[in-house]
């Protein structure tokens, strides 16, 4: 699992590659929290390079979502791989955290209510 971070229109875009499971999720958490503590509260998490996502990975995403929303920011998810999207759908997390088809769509998305 690896994470690359770049900037796009005021958003920190974190592109994740590989498997996010209970073995690698702690590293994802560390890297996302480093973005937040570095002063970025608006994050796009691009999961199109992710081959596998488990419940621990979802937990990390939910934790970061809560953290950035507390800071007045937002977390947006890019996910178009059916296997990975399915995890969000089963848990209904996609209702709280809509999935965008691309980074451009995620950045262009309407600001969340509240």
């Amino acid at each position: 699992m690896s994470v690359q971070v770049e900037q796009s229109d005021g958003w920190a875009v974190a592109r994740v590659h590989g498997d996010v499971d209970v073995a690698t999720a702690p590293r994802l958490r560390e890297q996302l929290i480093a973005i937040v503590t570095g002063g970025e509260a608006n994050i796009v998490l691009d999961l199109d390079g992710v081959d596998f996502l488990d419940s621990t990975g979802l937990g990390v995403i939910v934790g970061v979502l809560k953290r950035v929303r507390t800071l007045g920011g937002d977390l947006r998810i890019v996910c178009s791989r059916p296997g990975v999207c399915r995890v969000f759908e089963i848990t209904a997390l996609n209702r709280t955290l809509p999935l965008a088809g691309s980074v451009a769509d995620a950045v262009a998305g309407a600001s969340p209510a509240g």
């Binding site: 498997d19 209970v22 073995a23 488990d54 939910v62 059916p82 399915r86 209702r95």
Partner: protein, 140 residues
Amino acid sequence: MRSEFALEIPPHREHLALVRLIVGGAAALSPVGDRRLEDLKLAVSEACANAMDAQLRSGSDAPLRISVEVDDDAMVVTVTDHAGGFEPGALDPLPSVTDPQRLRHERGLGVPLMRSLADLVTFTKVADGTAVRLEIRAPA
């Protein structure tokens, strides 16, 4: 075709990717695998992660046993640990996975996910641990 095999793996998280690779490969032996591969991989990975956590807590470093049975109609994977036993009913109650309140809880999604992904999940107490049996059938 029908295939049955079992493997034993060290109860360490670094081996989860290997388990998924093997189980994913086994799924290719069944027509069920084509459409339910992701469900099987995730359910098995969650079961193994829970078993590894339980063994870590119990202090046992004995290998997990993973048995795989696939045929044309179903795939069954049973994960057996040596953690001394686990009662899913004794878990702290958490809101339903589809309840927005659920977002307050970062852990504990594994068992509900397994129940959502597999057609049948059973937990059985065995000699020194728990066997979790995950059954995934062909879509109706």
